[in-house]
């Protein structure tokens, strides 16, 4: 009986460890890249999932998607292509980071413009990061 209990405890421990391994935590640059990739494909659902908890608390998922779709349509943006994502800069506190990037915006008229911006990220928990939205907050 004692052996069986021991086995079950071991299985439970392994399951917990494996579950943790299934979702590797992303650094600031990787999180920013995933966010920008989602923006590139206008996958605002995935983009919302990468926002920090505070940002998510300030705007509902449906509202975020609606706002983004409207903003892009109103600005006549036909395409958003990531050109480069720079190395992150982490603040001395270690809890906040900035990831500069450049992207090409294509307007409905076919005209293109390269934009240079930076995403702000905040550390959440031990190893994961969330994108602060809007980026200047």
């Amino acid at each position: 009986m004692r052996r069986m209990v021991g086995c079950l405890a071991l299985i439970a421990l392994l399951a917990t460890v494996l579950a943790g391994c299934g979702k590797p935590s992303l650094g600031p640059k990787e999180t920013a890249e995933a966010f920008l990739k989602a923006m590139e494909s206008r996958d605002f659902v995935t983009a919302y999932g990468l926002l920090s908890a505070d940002s998510q608390a300030s705007i509902r998922a449906e509202e975020f998607q609606e706002n983004m779709n409207r903003a892009w349509n109103d600005a006549g943006i036909a395409g958003f292509h990531i050109e480069s994502v720079q190395q992150e800069i982490i603040a001395a506190s270690g809890t906040r980071a900035s990831v500069p990037y450049s992207a090409t915006l294509t307007k409905g008229s076919g005209e293109t413009a390269v934009v240079y911006n930076a995403l702000s990220l905040v550390k959440q928990g031990k190893d994961s990061w969330g994108v602060i939205w809007p980026p200047t907050r």
Partner: protein, 435 residues
């Protein structure tokens, strides 16, 4: 027992009040008496055949009432005022039914009779009027033109205009200008009188729209301020007119709740002002999202509440001065993107600023600084403009620019020039000379 009686009395009183309220409810809708039609028709006696009579010349006691007229000759019309001409002599019973647009019991009216007589020599004139523009902002003039009016057997001697805002005008020429100070729809009555003293009337409607009074919450952005005499009035002849989509913009709510097309003809002064100084100087040519190019006389800044990538597509605060009225409105602007690859220069400058900050032991200011939540974004906005604006780059040496951007991020004067970041002169570099 006493308590029960007291409660009973209160209950009876309450029910009485309630019952009285319910019974009196229809009476509350309008208690201003009857509308006496005799007082509201331009002429009751001696009306000639073919002569236009105006029905509804007095002030309607209920402004939003719907009035249906029966002229007694088989013709009917709806409105206040309306005009009608009888085609044969006789007595005609005129009635009107006035009701609330929202429904409910009709407002009582006192009917009247009109006596129409056969033509005696002088044939009455015909009145016709147009207004341009038919929709206008408060304070701006409307031209009323009665040139199309005519008299078959003579000439028109005078034009009587009732602008329906309490002002009237008599002219001998067919055209007159009038400006309204309050918004609303005005049914202007024109009465023309011929050389035989016969007259005819017509109605022309204009809509007056209020200047935007609320742009940003809590701030009154409309300032009735005359243009300073010394102020330059830039007339960019390449732009015949500008359409501005404007609306009430609330932070976090995008896009504005409604759009109001404002058509502006020169001369007007279009000034884009900065609500955040860190992005100045900026290019002096922009285009509205609708595609119309605008030229600005000052620098512009972008709002940091946009959901879009900043620096190139965002909200700008644009001030438009029309006839002494200043309207400050947020507009969506897109800055023309660079037509050359500037990436190498941008990232190189970015790293120089980062190094400068590190030397000052302030590297974190690039992430979030005492002044800006997203320092890197601010730096990139400035770098982009520095690289793109030739005259800006020529007049501020690179090292000086790096130091000034770093100073802004740190909120500290490190080069000892007495300024944190850019001076007023630096900001002016983005403004085209001659505007």
């Amino acid at each position: 027992m006493k308590g029960h009686m007291r409660v009973g009395r209160w209950l009876t009183a309450f029910l009485s009040v309630l019952l009285a309220s319910v019974l009196l409810l229809p009476l509350r809708a309008y208690s201003g008496g009857e509308i006496d039609l005799r007082q509201c028709i331009s002429k009751l006696e001696g009306v000639s055949v073919g002569e236009t009579v105006t029905f509804g010349t007095c002030t309607l006691p209920v402004p939003d009432a719907l009035v249906r007229w029966d002229f007694g000759d088989g013709n009917k019309a709806e409105g206040w005022p309306v005009v009608h001409a009888y085609q044969s002599p006789g007595w005609y019973d005129v009635t009107a039914v006035a009701t609330y647009r929202s429904g409910g019991a009709p407002i009582p009216t006192i009917p009247t009779r009109i006596h129409v007589v056969a033509l005696a020599g002088n044939v009455p004139p015909r009145a016709q009027a147009v207004a341009a523009p038919q929709q206008v902002l408060t304070g701006l003039p409307i031209t009323f033109d009665a040139t199309a009016s005519s008299d078959p057997d003579g000439t028109i001697n005078r034009y009587f205009w009732d602008f329906r805002d309490g002002t009237k005008a008599i002219t001998t020429t067919a055209s007159v200008q009038h400006a309204y100070s309050r918004p609303g729809t005005y049914n202007v009555i024109l009465t023309v009188t011929d050389n035989g003293e016969a007259d005819a009337s017509t109605v022309v409607s204009v809509t007056v729209v209020a200047l935007p009074t609320k742009v940003l919450p809590g701030v009154d952005r409309v300032i009735p301020e005359p243009l300073p005499k010394a102020a330059p009035v830039p007339l960019d002849q390449r732009i015949p007119r500008v359409f501005v989509d404007m609306g009430v913009y609330e932070a976090g709510r995008f896009p504005p709740r409604y759009q109001f097309p404002l058509q502006l003809d020169p001369p007007f002064r279009l000034v884009a002002t900065s609500n955040r100084d860190w992005l100045a100087p900026m290019p002096t040519e922009y285009e509205l999202i609708t595609g119309t190019r605008i030229a600005v006389t000052e620098y512009i800044s972008v709002s940091n509440t946009s959901m879009l990538p900043r620096a190139h597509t965002s909200w700008g605060q644009v001030s438009i001065v029309v006839n002494g009225w200043i309207m400050e409105i947020p507009v969506a602007v897109t800055v023309r993107g660079p037509n050359k690859d500037i990436s190498e220069e941008v990232w190189s400058l970015f790293n120089e600023i980062l190094t400068y900050l590190a030397d000052q032991e302030q590297r974190s200011a690039m992430v979030s600084s005492p002044r800006y939540a997203n320092g890197a974004d601010v730096a990139l906005g400035l770098i982009t403009e520095y690289v793109l604006e030739g005259h800006y780059g020529e007049q501020i040496p690179r090292q000086e620019f790096v130091a000034k951007v770093a100073e802004l991020l740190m909120d500290r004067d490190t080069n000892g020039d007495g300024f944190v970041g850019f001076t007023d002169r630096d900001r002016g570099l983005g403004v085209k000379v001659g505007y």
